[in-house]
């Protein structure tokens, strides 16, 4: 088979297969030696990129917006036709002035204000925006004031805006919002770099990917960067960059405060919404910046259950044995059955952590944006999967000397036995929701942490 034919075959493979090291190496080997194949490859890569660019991200939002705009224009045109005809009839009977008024009233361009955002999600019943239905498109100039509940908006360029509770926010364009008050979080994808959050005392320009802004009703503000980088420009035209893990205050008069560490707790109820957990219940602390260590006593969360994302869009290199995600109620005495995820399955791993140093029991419920594929519960499973699914920047108990490891690490100490300290969980019939009750061993005078991994389906 010629190099070109070989290349065509390799490029026609599914993306998951095509991006494996072996296939990439073969493709590179061909295009290194064959000029014709190299040019064909360049055309193919640009074709793929163009196609993806047309079909995803901001394109999705744009297409929906365009569709909505078109349908509104069609409706308006219909109204115009009807209105004009009616008005003409009236003209024949009465006066031409009414015609003018009617046409003016039904002008199809009266709504030609850009559509800039999509109200995509209603995480819970309390979160309905007043007068706005989920799935509704919002126009530039729309001002939203909420007192309670959680709200998620998707801007036309792809930025996701989320908040909870008391917020006063105005949509200025697809790339700019004004925060008059409240705590708001942003996730900005690459195509929306340059997105701006305007506050009374300054403007924040985003370079991706996650940041939060807290605006007091006296006009002061705080900017917290969970991931990536933003630039803060005060109204006195002072300027400073803020990067991952940093925050800055801004007085109402535009004075920029000292550099401080990020305070994620300000956005505790919002950050999960931006990280694949559109709905949750209970005392949850989401770490966008993972703790340096999750050994005993190293990552205390008060009364909250800590959660962070480990590997994502990760293709399992080998089959992985996990506890089944079948809906049902499970405890130490009645654990779920084991199942095997095939090699090549794309997963996103959520690490759940609670520490007996600050709590004895806890209950949370998490709803993920994709199906739960499996749960990793036992100490042996956790230690085995630390190197595979864990983050390099986090130290897991399995990396410490055995003397320094907690005696009980796993959520369920010995699944299938009667050793029960109240650990149980329920997977709901939607396959995306898990309710967890954690019991910690403080009452026995033994240090304990409860940890487990939830693997959720992810995309390549």
């Amino acid at each position: 088979m010629s190099d070109l034919k070989n290349l065509e075959h390799l490029l026609s493979l599914d993306r998951e297969v095509r991006e494996t090291p072996e296939v990439v190496a073969s493709i590179r080997s061909i295009i290194s030696r064959d000029v014709e194949a190299r040019h064909a490859y360049v055309r193919w890569a640009h074709f793929e990129s163009s196609l993806g660019w047309h079909l995803t991200g901001d394109a999705n939002a744009h297409q929906s917006i365009v569709r909505q705009l078109k349908s509104e224009r069609i409706q308006n045109r219909r109204i115009l036709v009807w209105g004009t005809t009616a008005a003409l009839a009236v003209v024949l009977l009465l006066t031409g002035l009414i015609t003018t008024a009617a046409i003016h009233h039904f002008n199809p361009y009266q709504h030609a204000i850009p559509l800039v955002a999509w109200y995509t999600q209603v995480p819970d019943a309390d979160s309905q925006l007043p007068g706005v239905q989920a799935g509704k498109l919002l126009r530039a100039g729309h001002r939203i004031q909420t007192r309670e509940g959680k709200v998620v908006l998707r801007m036309a360029q792809g930025t996701v805006v989320a908040w909870s509770g008391l917020v006063d926010l105005e949509l200025r364009s697809a790339q700019e919002v004004v925060i008059h008050g409240g705590n708001v979080c942003f996730h900005v994808p690459p195509q929306a770099i340059g997105f701006r959050a305007v506050t009374p005392a300054g403007v924040i320009t985003d370079f991706g990917t996650q940041f939060g802004v807290s605006v007091g009703f006296d006009g002061s503000a705080e900017v917290h960067v969970m991931q990536g980088k933003v630039e803060l420009v005060s109204k006195t035209e002072k300027r400073c960059p803020i990067i991952t893990g940093e925050s800055r205050g801004l007085t109402g008069t535009g004075e920029i405060g000292e550099l401080q560490p990020v305070n994620e707790s300000l956005f505790a109820s919002t950050l999960p919404l931006l990280n694949g957990i559109p709905k949750f219940r209970g005392n949850l602390r989401f770490w966008t910046i993972p703790p340096l260590s999750v050994n005993q006593g190293a990552a205390l969360t008060g009364n909250a259950v800590g959660v962070f994302i480990e590997r994502q869009r990760f293709a399992l290199p080998d089959p992985l044995t996990v506890y089944s995600p079948a809906p049902g109620e499970y405890s130490t005495a009645t654990p779920p059955t084991l199942t095997t995820l095939p090699a090549g399955t794309f997963v996103r791993s959520y690490f759940i952590h609670a520490d007996s140093s600050t709590q004895t029991s806890n209950e949370v419920e998490l709803t993920f944006d994709n199906k739960i594929l499996g749960v990793i519960l036992s100490a042996a499973q956790l230690s085995e999967t630390d190197p595979l699914l864990g983050l390099r920047e986090v130290r897991y108990p399995s990396e410490f000397h055995s003397d320094l490891q907690p005696k009980f690490r796993a959520f369920m100490i010995s699944p299938g036995t009667t050793t029960n300290v109240g650990d149980m969980y329920t997977i709901h019939p939607d396959g995306k929701t898990i309710q967890i009750t954690m019991g910690l061993l403080e009452s026995y005078g033994i240090q304990d942490i409860d940890q487990f991994r939830i693997l959720v389906a992810d995309d390549p």
Binding site: E19, S32, R38, V42, G52, G194, G208, R239, A457
Partner: protein, 189 residues
């Protein structure tokens, strides 16, 4: 004729002012260039997730260095230069990734330059061909590129097997590719 260089030299220190026209100009140029920069990065790394991460890095660096950008230069070429350096740095720091040789990076950069006219034409005709697909085919194709939607999830919701969905996708992709080839040939002749 010698052109005036546009000075978008953003101050680096706190306390200095930022010209808002610079921000607007950058956003305008970046909006127009980012798709082509993405194509270039994907050509080099052959991995969607890495290409998206690198595109973001390139955007940040382009903004930071925008003061150095000479308006006589082509913005796309300038940002592709940044992208090329990012890919080479990414190679050095990425232990788990497959390394691309700097020689191949240069060869591909040359090929992209030589094919540039065809690549732009291809982008245009692709839009035309996409418009010829029926809405169902387009929606299905969209799934392949939409983050947060797995083929498996679609299969569960539609009741069609994963295999059937993959086969349909392949058929639609092939039709699209044939349509682009035909139209490219027609435009050239």
């Amino acid at each position: 004729m010698k052109q005036e260089r546009i000075h978008f030299s953003f101050p680096q220190q706190e306390g200095e002012s930022i010209p808002s026209h610079g921000h607007r100009e950058f956003v305008r140029l970046w909006t127009g260039a980012s798709r082509r920069v993405h194509s270039y990065i994907l050509t080099l790394v052959l991995n969607w997730a890495d290409a998206e991460d690198l595109l973001q890095d390139v955007g940040v660096t382009a903004w930071e260095k925008f003061g150095e950008f000479d308006s006589r230069m082509d913005f796309v070429s300038w940002t592709c230069g940044i992208a090329r350096n990012k890919v080479l740095t990414f190679n050095q720091h990425s232990l788990r990734k497959l390394v691309i040789s700097s020689e191949l990076v240069e060869q591909l950069a040359d090929a992209v330059r030589m094919e540039s006219e065809t690549l732009e034409l291809q982008h245009d005709v692709l839009q035309e061909c996409l418009a010829r697909l029926d809405s169902g085919e387009r929606e299905l194709l969209k799934l392949r590129y939409t983050p947060g939607l797995s083929i498996k999830a679609v299969s569960e919701e539609t009741g069609r097997s994963v295999d059937a969905i993959y086969k349909t996708l392949q058929r639609v992709s092939r039709r699209l590719s044939d349509c682009v080839s035909r139209r490219l040939k027609r435009r050239r002749s």
